[in-house]
Amino acid sequence: MSVKKDNNWEPVILAFCCNWCTYTGADLAGLNRMKYPENVRVIRVPCSSRVNPQFIIRAFQKGADGVLVCGCHPGDCHYATGNYYTRRRFMLMKRLLEYNGIDPKRFQAKWISGSEAAKFRDTVIQVSAEIKALGPNTKFVGTYAPQTATEGGQE
């Protein structure tokens, strides 16, 4: 991963996708041979409410430039109510991250159903473009990466 912001720099975007909607939607996008930026890394989760807010902080620490959480539309949750909890949770998390200095564009959530392949594509294109414009993430960056691991402790 490049640290300098140059024209060749591509962001790393982590997308947590609900198994029942968005993951299927992303699959459909693939089947339809839709093109979208390859810098999104999809992690399949059983439900968008599986995503622990801690995952997002960890993602930034381990090198993600943006995080996307995608789930079913409210009312469509495979487990009936999971995404209602997600909605409350990430509305607060988004604001808390912003309060801690993270650009709100770096953490986004979207409802994308299994049939909305085009929405998935458009979301990824949009998020990717937005984060590319922001440049590499410099906040919440971890210090344990082996390439940077030197003596610990004192600054």
Binding site: P146, A149, T150, G152, Q154, E155
Partner: protein, 377 residues
Amino acid sequence: MILAKKDLDQALKILSQDAVVFAPLITLIEDKSQIDQPAFEKKFMPYHEGAAVGLDNFNTVKPPKDVLFPNVEKLYKYKTGEGAYIEEIVPEDKPKILFGIRPCDMRSIDSMDKVFFTKEYVDSYYAKRRELVTIVAMGCMDTQRTCFCDSMGLDPTYAPTADVMMNVTKSTRTKACPVTGCTIPEDDGSYILEALTEKGKALLDKISSLCTENGAEEAVRDVSCSLKIEKDPELDKKLSKMFEHPIWDKITKGCIGCGTCTFVCPTCYCFDIDNENYGAEGCKYRCWDSCMFSDYTRMAGGANPRPTKKERLRNRYMHKLSYFNERYGETLCVGCGRCIENCPAHLDISEFIEKASKVDAEAKEYSEADFAEKEVR
């Protein structure tokens, strides 16, 4: 040698040229929202030009031990699977100077030396750092209300194991700083420096151009701690018979089981070893650990020899006041008072020492009411 107070910055600047000088620096914690009063923090940090060095008044909250025994210390890098390797991470070999630590903190470094250098194994990470450090100890001019080092057998104005001993000279008078309220020198008094080791001599040679030879100046040595406690000189032996004593039930009740006392303690040296992974690669690090945490002794499968805060606090106090004596021949509590000042539940090890000194070791019952008349400061 005599160093005028006004030349202290110059001396630190010279010393910083070929070493990292850790001194108790006072920094302002910026809060641009200006909601709170500006907060000051005193901490051992690398000296830089223009830094405010706070040698007098209160001691730092965090002890200087992390210069020798960092809070987080990376031990080695590794990779698993294809091309697996283990590669040691060696501490940087830049010389360091630990400037202005108090005699209590110096004694705690002696204790850590005993732990990390003796008993069959030498801890190479600690050893490497220790060899590169020259210590300038600073005799206390005044003491805080929680200081009780002289009751633990220390001299607040003299640290015999330091490389250089530094004291203020008697003429120094102080006044209150108009900004912070801290005590600051009223006139340009001076420091009297004495090299106690070869390392110390080499250090003083570097700043000799700033110093003058000792004249009639005398070091301030008549400082004594404000907190005097009555300690049984044989407390370590008494405590070793008090493992099942009811006092433990009572005094541990208020404890909330956090690790504050262990992390602010200059002599607590226990550590944990953990790893952090990045894919197949990662690094192993060690970090301070606290015997007050439940996972400190919990074994795989869940069994824990110290299941509640009673056992944990008992182990901590016993370690400080009895076990360490048995193993290394000295008490591990140096009387710096940091845990007393910072304990969230306001537990007080000095109070425990006094009570344990007074109680009957064989007693089957214990009541706080027996110690009802309390000295209020």
